[in-house]
């Protein structure tokens, strides 16, 4: 067997594996879309159909009619945006300092930050609830924003750190040589180069807040304050009755922001702005 045939085979195997992976990832989404457009008898029919025979938007109407989904979307959006902004305000300077000012404690600090990721939310929810209640921060957006911020900071800090590391120190030194002071170096050189990283990390923080369910369920009591995932959970009734159609429709609505954001930004995030900066 010659090299070209081998190469072709290796490529085909890889493509097939990728295909399976895509099906694995995309099927739930496609199924959700399909369910949201099917009339009820078709959803519960014995022979499942992928493409709805009689597409209908009834479930969307029902979803928005039965619950105040719009206020859920608004709350989720507000909490997500604010918490990711706070996360960035904390992590961007922290990551820069951790990378550029090497001290003995850096390594152990980074390790401990990672360790904090190991605790499952269920483990800390009771003490957290007590703590927030004592501070009168339960059932308030400020409280949940604080929780989401603390929850995202460790991982986002690790992310930001690798983005800062990717900026060669020579770029900063060259700016010093050209007469910049530290503040100008940060604002004119480092910040513009970090923008892709900041966008990526910010989105990560936003999406993890947008998707979060457990903390929101426990900490936000008033329906007016609660977030989209909690609204979604209400489509599965306590009496064991799940309204699949409206659930699928509202889940789809909840997925759209994430989907849109990543579709448009993925390319820019991957290619990276750093190419052409320095020659290794």
């Amino acid at each position: 067997m010659n090299y070209r045939v081998k190469n072709l085979m290796a490529k085909s195997v890889m493509q097939i594996c990728l295909l399976f992976f895509v099906v694995f990832l995309a099927f739930p989404l496609v199924w959700m879309l399909s369910t949201s457009l099917k009339p009820n008898p078709e959803i519960y029919s014995r022979i499942p159909t992928l493409i709805p025979k009689e597409p209908t938007f009834d479930h969307f109407r029902a979803a928005f009619g039965q619950q105040d989904l719009l206020s859920g979307i608004y709350n989720s959006f507000k909490i997500g945006v604010l918490s990711s902004i706070v996360v960035l305000i904390i992590t961007v300077p922290a990551a820069y300092a951790l990378v550029r000012f090497q001290t003995v404690i850096n390594k152990s600090v980074m390790a401990w930050i990672l360790v904090s990721q190991l605790f499952p939310s269920i483990l800390i929810i009771i003490p957290l609830f007590v703590l927030l209640r004592n501070l009168a921060l339960t059932n308030s957006h400020i409280g949940i924003i604080l929780v989401y911020t603390v929850w995202s900071v460790p991982f986002v800090l690790w992310m930001m750190r690798s983005y800062v590391k990717a900026i060669p120190i020579e770029l900063e030194e060259a700016a010093f040589i050209d007469g910049c002071n530290r503040l100008q170096v940060l604002s004119k050189i480092v910040f513009p180069l970090l923008v892709p990283g900041i966008v990526a990390s910010g989105l990560f923080a936003f999406v993890s807040a947008w998707n979060e369910f457990f903390f929101a369920l426990v900490l936000l009591k008033t329906p007016k304050l609660t977030t989209l995932p909690v609204y979604l959970s209400r489509f599965t009734g306590s009496e064991g009755m799940t309204r699949l159609g409206p659930l699928a429709a509202s889940c789809l609505v909840a997925t759209i922001p994430t989907l849109v954001v990543f579709t448009f930004l993925q390319k820019g995030l991957v290619s990276g702005l750093m190419s052409g900066a320095v020659k290794q």
Binding site: D178, C180, P192, V278
Partner: protein, 358 residues
């Protein structure tokens, strides 16, 4: 006036001393090269002049102004120097014009002046037609010239170059050598150039500082360093050279393991090391010293023929013969090598600064 005076500068990182007792003056408008293998401390010296490192002890003056010393430290942005980095460090988010204009923008110069000066500099570094391009659209050589233009635009009196050509291909490197030298002459600036490439150092420098393990081995013009290397390290590092051990006896040097000797009337006695440059030997008979051996390999390089000759005792000489001799030479042929010129060093028994052939 932009001489650089370095007095008693020692630099240590923790316990590791990378530069020891550096004591030199780089004169105004001089092209100085710090030459040495990687890790010899040359880049550290440059970074101390730039202000990215502080000397552990000692003092650095640019002109009459102390920039690093006891109690004083002028940060890099206040030293009025230009610098080109090995990696170029061109800013990826600015186009060529903005990259080059940057030092003037920081200095808040008027727009028309910036435009005029940038256009002038871009012409000098042959980038006028690329002003609107971004670094990722440029070749390595062009990026390098952007970095050079940016370093020159503020008309610094001192220009520091940290291996600026090492990432370029051979042809471009050769032409950039002459351009850098020309720019230095035209601008009348003091240049400190760091490189491990001896050809670059030879081609451009007024003076070469050969550094090894943090200590200056020799200071001199390219001809001095090449023709009269101060020690075996310099002889070996600058150019190519063959080393043979021997002992001085009765006006001759008896070469160890070869059973052959060459005439010698110099000052050294006892154990010595003989150093012969490949181009100082020939296959054409002369009345000078000679050695016999067996030709083991020939390499046709176009302009010359590179030969390896087994002179006995497991030692080989490398010599360059003229291009046409390649046709007449056959491998395994016995021949006589005539030595036009050689150097002699005292043998201190150390092996680490000599290598016989590469």
């Amino acid at each position: 006036m932009a001489s650089i005076t370095i007095s008693n500068v020692t630099k240590a990182f923790g316990d590791v001393v990378v530069l020891r007792e550096f004591n030199e003056v780089f004169h105004d408008k001089e092209f100085v090269t710090l030459l040495g293998p990687s890790g010899c401390g040359k880049t550290t010296m440059l970074r101390m002049i730039a202000g990215f490192e502080k000397p552990t002890t000692g003092e650095i003056k640019i002109g009459d102004r102390v920039v690093s010393g006891a109690g004083t430290f002028v940060p890099p942005e206040k030293r009025g120097i230009g610098m080109v980095f090995q990696s170029y460090a061109v800013w990826p988010h600015m186009n060529v014009f903005d990259n080059v204009a940057y030092p003037l923008k920081i200095a808040k110069r008027p727009k028309e002046e910036i435009k005029r000066k940038v256009e002038h500099i871009l012409e000098i570094v042959h980038l006028s037609q690329y002003a609107e391009r971004f670094p990722m659209q440029l070749s390595g050589g062009q990026q390098q010239r952007v970095a050079l233009g940016r370093a020159l635009i503020a008309e610094p009196s001192v220009l520091l170059l940290d291996e600026p050509l090492s990432n370029l291909d051979a042809k471009l490197r050769e032409s950039m050598r002459f351009e850098i030298k020309q720019i230095q002459r035209d601008f009348g600036i003091t240049v400190v150039y760091v490189t491990h490439d001896q050809t670059e150092a030879m081609a451009m420098s007024d003076r070469i500082f050969v550094i090894n393990r943090g200590v200056i081995q020799q200071v001199g013009s390219p001809t001095e360093v090449y023709r009269k290397p101060a020690n075996q390290f310099v002889a070996d590092f600058v150019g190519t050279i063959n080393f043979l051990r021997g002992e001085v006896k009765n006006g001759r040097i008896e070469l160890a393991g070869l059973g052959q000797s060459i005439p010698y009337d110099g000052i050294y006695k006892g154990k010595v090391v003989v150093a012969i440059r490949p181009e100082n030997m020939s296959l054409l008979p002369t009345d000078k010293a000679s050695l016999t051996g067996k030709l083991t390999r020939t390499f046709y390089l176009g302009d010359v023929t590179d030969c390896r000759v087994d002179v006995g005792g497991g030692q080989y000489l490398r010599l360059v013969a003229d291009s046409r001799s390649y046709d007449s030479l056959t491998e395994d042929q016995e021949l006589t090598v005539y030595i036009d010129d050689f150097l002699v060093y005292e043998d201190d028994g150390r092996e680490d600064h000599t290598k016989i052939i590469t």
